[in-house]
Symmetry: C2
């Protein structure tokens, strides 16, 4: 049954049922032209203006929309992320995939095939060029749009999504520049629509368990966290015309930054109540030399190959330090180039002990000897597995998706939307976690001098309630 | 047989055979009075002058003294470090312990007992007050002085040692302020005497093996290193009148810094040829809140106990980032407070892979699959164990001392002195590794803005040969 979200307490701008390409371009003109012309937004190592720039129309910090009986979803991007996410969404009660968009015809074919296999109702398809997604946005029967496109499209599409009266569920990172971060915040406040960055790692079993441990005081007062995206992805350079590497590789030739911080940082930020009693204050960053991609290209491609024409400037290993307003520290690393095992670190340290991953380990003073790491997770899991995980474990294990975290995230997000709860990640989180990219770039280019985080919450972080994933089981 | 070092190529200042206390105080007046009055030198979070300040009398970068038939040693400090080091020195051919000094009578008693057990010749003893060591320095039959005293005495004693014409073998850290670092450099160049900081960790089996691997190109071009001194030492707070904690605890109430960086950093610096083709360029640093020592004091001591009267300001976890002139990065952590297992990290990463410790692990592209850590060290050891380790392994294992590294360090240092070789760690290393303390303090106090390293080598790093431990076996 269709549910008209315009009946909700929060009025949205009315939109014509269909608009011409010309009208879409007019909407786009509200955004800086460079976003669409350049292909890659970059702060170029310059310190951008970090001041609070907009008027506050009403903080989104604890915002919850009216409950939705059914969540009508549009999906933009049917590639390596969008397609598997649609598969999971089809498995969740109360979800209707209404429309999908992708300019790459085989991607839509893949979607048709998957939908047919699942016996699902066929949504509307929009595939006529890069801006076909605007036809999806012009519909009035969509509540939320999942955006799974290349990075440079995330922020502009999320802004347009909110301006069309829909919630934006946007892949990581949500934004690439400080300006884009503010655009998201301004749009969310202006439209009173959610902008949730879909940071799936926050829904991993271990991350949820660690959140539980932190909230139950097992680690004592928090002191320090460590996050990373260390994931060798040189092989993606072989994606030339399609696939992640076809667009991701270019960033390594354009920006020397901590390019992909949110997977590691999101959970640490939640443990530390960032934007909810604490906030990121400043950041220093240093990159190692950029050598690995050049060496890989020389080894894997002919001398005249496009991959051998690029100059890769993104330091193979970036290490950034964040200080929070309450004085805590976070180390965030990025390395998708060096041959070494995967890790997100996920280390959280307090006055009573430490929990970390890769490998799973912990040391707690309360357990007696803390001089050797403990590796048996079963005791912790038995005691601290999160209710949300226990509730969704069976389906998560069955359906897969990064060890279940994708399913748990989607299930939980749909649950919140259907129950009128605030989403776990608001627009301020999207901005604060993503802005590490331009801030690290600027600090690294300025001899590691620190860069201030904008206070995207405009002060609201000080009085916000601590973060938790509440009501995960009740009212289902 | 006595060996007169004044016959060497490098002329030293003649010293009277014995001098009065008054004369010693005159010598001391060359040093800043505050060193002796304050008890604790501190840069107070201020940016100190980092410019090259002295005239260059002749770089010590590749300095080697005339070979010594026998190395006549004086030892200042017979506490928890000096005594075991004397035991090891007694086991090395060509060493004569000529004199020892400590103002704490039971320490000298322990020394007498040990010497008697070993049937060793009884050295001269100097124990009359804090400045008794000057009587030791006044002797003309000593080649080198081992300084194993509380931190604040290291630099002043090393300077006086060199000014008395003797080589200074000084415990870590060699200095506590930028000014002290320069005093060491100036004194070493002025007197043409060695100032070796006795960084024992550089002589660990794994560190020597990693050095070998790096020099043989196993890791490819170096990119990044990680170092730490994470060692829970709250229990030392129970040392009240003697023992390390009796003076070390005070630093946690006086400086918010990376207090003890050299154990982790020394080996990484050697892998990276710091001061020999590369150098530390700048540093950013952030400390977590300082909570653990206060909590420990509340738990372990009565409310009116001295440990509950102090305000501990040194952040429980300090994380510092260093950038080198060649663009490499190093992360250095310090935490002696949080309940967690020991680690020095000792992680070194290059374009071909990574080696690290705690636990021992490596991943190398040349071995095929690098997506999982390898933990079997035997293959690496068979192939890359250092000649120095193989030469000294048996005695090191028998005599002990931090897993053998203490013995290897002493054996190697004596070997170099007897063979007229440069010591492995010169005064520039002592200064560059130790200056992390004041630089991290200043950066941490300045919102993580970066602090420039002084170029203690005055430019000589650029043309210096790469670091290696050469000739360890030949000419013994």
């Amino acid at each position: 049954m269709s549910h008209d979200i315009s009946n909700g307490a929060n009025v949205r701008k009315p939109l014509p049922e269909k608009r011409s390409r010309r009208e879409f371009l007019q909407t786009a003109s509200l955004l800086p032209a460079a976003l669409y012309l350049d292909g890659c937004a970059s702060s170029g190592g310059q310190k951008e203006n970090v001041n609070n720039r907009g008027d506050t129309a009403g903080s989104m910090i604890d915002y919850a929309h009216e409950p939705l009986d059914k969540v009508r979803i549009g999906i933009i991007g049917m590639g390596r992320r969008g397609l598997p996410m649609m598969r999971l969404l089809l498995a969740i009660d109360g979800v209707e995939v209404v429309a999908i968009s992708d300019p790459f015809a085989p991607a839509l074919d893949n979607a048709r095939k998957l939908l047919t296999e699942h016996g699902a109702a066929m949504p509307a398809f929009y595939g006529d060029g890069d801006y076909a997604y605007r036809e999806l946005l012009a519909r009035d029967d969509i509540d939320a749009v999942y955006i799974a496109t290349p990075w440079r499209w995330h922020a502009p599409m999320a802004v347009e999504t909110m301006d069309s009266g829909k919630h934006a569920l946007v892949e990581v990172p949500a934004a690439l520049t400080i300006d884009e971060c503010w655009q998201l915040v301004d749009a969310s406040e202006r439209t009173q629509r959610q902008c949730m960055m879909m940071e799936n790692v926050c829904y991993g079993r271990e991350e949820l368990m660690a959140l539980n441990m932190v909230r139950e005081g097992v680690l004592g007062e928090l002191l320090h966290g460590e996050a990373a995206y260390i994931h060798e992805l040189r092989w993606q350079m072989k994606d030339m015309d399609e696939g992640t590497g076809s667009w991701r590789t270019g960033w390594h030739a354009r920006r020397d930054a901590n390019l992909y911080p949110t997977h590691g940082l999101g959970p640490i930020a939640q443990y530390m109540n960032i934007n909810r009693g604490d906030r990121f204050d400043y950041l220093s960053s240093m990159s190692s030399p950029a050598l690995g991609r050049q060496l890989y290209a020389q080894r894997e491609f002919p001398a005249d190959h496009q991959r051998n024409q690029e100059t890769y400037i993104c330091g193979d290993m970036n290490t950034s330090l964040i200080k929070t307003a309450r004085g805590r520290t976070i180390m965030v690393q990025h390395d998708t180039t060096t041959p070494r095992p995967y890790t997100r670190h996920n280390l959280i340290q307090g006055t009573n002990g430490v929990y970390g991953q890769y490998p799973d380990r912990f040391a707690l003073e309360s357990l007696g000897d803390f001089h050797a790491w403990q590796h048996d997770m079963s005791t912790l899991q038995e005691r601290y597995d999160h209710d949300l995980w226990k509730r969704t474990e069976e389906a998560a294990n069955e359906l897969g998706g990064h060890g279940g975290m994708d399913f748990v995230m989607l299930w939980r997000t749909i649950f919140c939307l259907r129950n009128g709860l605030p989403l776990d990640q608001n627009v301020y989180d999207a901005a604060a976690w993503s802005v590490v990219i331009p801030l690290s770039e600027a600090s690294n280019a300025d001899r590691g001098n620190s860069m201030d985080f904008p206070d995207f919450t405009r002060g609201a972080w000080q009085d916000a309630a601590p973060f938790n994933i509440r009501d995960a089981v009740s009212n289902a």
